[in-house]
């Protein structure tokens, strides 16, 4: 079966994004299903029971984009997808701000669900972003969560 490449969009930006608009961009003729993941800043660090006043995200320009591109490439080798959009914010964010958008469209809903889930799991472990939480002038670099490594197991063939 020959595969068509999906429409791909990757953006690393300070600005917020509009989910309605991004979803509309993923509409294409014969696309029936769109699955979006949206991550938002939590107001509480549950592990340490700490209120979070703000957080700052930094990334590795160039490498971040290329790692996301590789993940998207892997996703459309596995599933027939018609479009993939990944937007990740950097800079200072406040609780309940949107951090990340992963939108995946496909003719068939399970492909869209699996593709979106796969991209998020790999983005969490491979895309070079680092969060530092700020609380009363104290900085706390968030540490990697091993459950994100565990999540990858479901994608091993």
């Amino acid at each position: 079966m020959s595969k068509n490449y999906p429409m791909i969009k990757i953006k690393i930006q300070n600005e917020d994004f509009d989910i309605s608009e991004e979803t509309k961009n993923l509409h294409q003729n014969n696309t029936g299903a769109i699955v979006n993941f949206v991550g938002v800043v939590r107001g509480l660090d549950e592990k340490n029971n700490q209120i979070i006043n703000s957080m700052t995200l930094e990334h590795y320009p160039g490498m971040t984009e290329s790692e996301i591109e590789k993940i998207i490439f892997d996703s459309y080798k596995r599933w027939e997808l018609t479009g993939v959009t990944v937007i990740h914010r950097v800079g200072e964010l406040k609780p309940s701000d949107q951090i990340v958008f992963v939108g995946v469209s496909s003719k068939h809903r399970q492909n869209a669900f699996d593709g979106c889930n796969f991209i998020m799991d790999w983005l969490k472990t491979k895309a070079p972003f680092w969060k530092v939480e700020e609380n009363n002038n104290k900085k706390n670099w968030v540490s990697f969560n091993d459950s994100d490594n565990q999540a990858l197991k479901k994608w091993k063939k």
């Binding site: 930094e58 590795y60 160039g62 990340v100 491979k126 070079p128 972003f129 540490s143 990697f144």
Partner: protein
């Protein structure tokens, strides 16, 4: 050679990148780490648990035995926490 640092590693080193002129006997990442450890103690804390540090050579995930040369960009950073 450009060496880049991110997250708490950058804060500990006190800069986000530095230019190094590498001695010719340094040909892989491991040797670079040994070299940095020798020129300044501040690197020791970062590299004492090397297995916790991620490495990129020219913006591609790499390992301790990845070959490097003076024209490469090397990055050291902790495991990622985006998303």
């Amino acid at each position: 050679m450009v060496v880049k640092y991110f997250s708490w590693i950058k804060e500990h080193i006190g800069k986000s990148e530095e230019q190094l002129d590498l001695p010719s006997n340094i040909t892989n990442v491991n040797q670079l780490i040994n070299y940095l450890n020798e020129i300044d103690e501040k690197y020791n804390i970062i590299f004492e648990k090397k297995e916790l540090i991620k490495i990129a050579v020219n913006k591609i995930y790499s390992s301790f035995d990845t070959k490097i040369s003076n024209s490469d960009e090397i990055a050291f950073f902790p495991p990622v926490t985006g998303g």
